[in-house]
């Protein structure tokens, strides 16, 4: 059920496209940020070795981190755009829960993470749970 906050109701495909834009940008952002942090190494070790300044410098000098943050910013603006046309009670749970599943797929393909049966089950359970809780 899609109820628009503006005068003209938003169609099914327009709503799907808006939510897909949030999910795709946010997945790209999370995967790039995770890849950046993996390439930097354990931040606790870096902080123990070269202090807080060294840890901040390690993060801020990583180009992948900025690529990730740019996509997360795009996801945020797509969310604002969607909220202008759709209700929060649809956009927030749909985007938050779908992102969990797309991240599991992207984590397996791009980050080569070992997404075993346990992690798939967890992603699906948390996805349905977040939808029910936030709806």
């Amino acid at each position: 059920m899609i109820v628009s906050s503006s005068a003209a109701p938003t169609g099914f495909w327009a709503a799907t496209a808006m939510i897909a834009a949030i999910v795709l940008c946010s997945t790209a952002g999370e995967v790039l940020t995770a890849a950046a942090m993996k390439s930097i190494g354990d931040l606790d070790d870096i902080r123990a070795h070269s202090g807080m300044k060294g840890a901040i410098r390690a993060v801020l000098t990583c180009p992948l981190f900025f690529a990730g943050v740019s996509f997360l910013a795009l996801a945020f603006f797509s969310l604002l755009f969607a909220l202008n046309h759709l209700n929060l009670s649809l956009v927030a749970p749909a985007s938050a829960s779908l992102t969990l599943v797309t991240n599991a797929i992207a984590g397996k393909i791009f980050l080569k993470e070992n997404v075993d049966r346990r992690r798939w089950a967890s992603a699906v359970l948390v996805c349905i749970g977040v939808y029910l809780l936030a709806h």
Binding site: S122, G129, L132
Partner: protein, 147 residues
């Protein structure tokens, strides 16, 4: 270096990630609802809003969240960190039930049970994917061990 068993300090970081994001959002929401309507004609009011106590606290919590989240991603997989952080929704729902005495609908209780089950599943497994160490890195480690 792949840690399969998390240290207490690392559980603390995951707990902070789970708690600080929903609490930060709640502070922003509380701060913004107590302000008069902000229009594009007076964008300065938005800047002034940043310095009100609830919004400043919300922003501080969200900065803390991002720092802890990045730290967690540096030693654990994305597919481990994300479901674990969703537990924050459960903590906030339970706080609102027992502290603020809000009512929780059966659908929300079902959501709480599913997230708890999902987090339990992932928390029992390894936190990061084991990867073969790069030759250069392993040499450095050996050198350090010899010293």
């Amino acid at each position: 270096m792949a840690h399969h068993k998390l240290l207490p300090r690392q559980y603390l970081i995951l707990g902070l990630v789970a708690l600080s994001a929903p609490l930060g959002d709640a502070c922003l929401s509380r701060g913004m609802t107590h302000l008069p309507d902000i229009t594009l004609a007076h964008p300065g009011t938005l800047i002034a809003a940043v310095f009100t106590p609830w919004i400043a606290l919300g922003i501080a919590l969200l900065i803390g969240f991002f720092a802890c989240y990045l730290t967690a991603l540096s030693w654990a997989d994305l597919t481990f960190v994300l479901p674990a952080t969703a537990f924050g929704y459960v903590i906030v729902a339970l706080l609102s039930r027992f502290w603020l005495h809000d009512t929780i609908s059966p659908e929300r209780w079902a959501g709480i049970v599913l997230i708890t089950l999902g987090v339990g599943f992932v928390a029992n497994g390894p936190s990061s994917t084991e990867r073969p160490a790069l030759p250069a890195v392993s040499e450095e480690v050996e050198e350090e061990q010899l010293r």
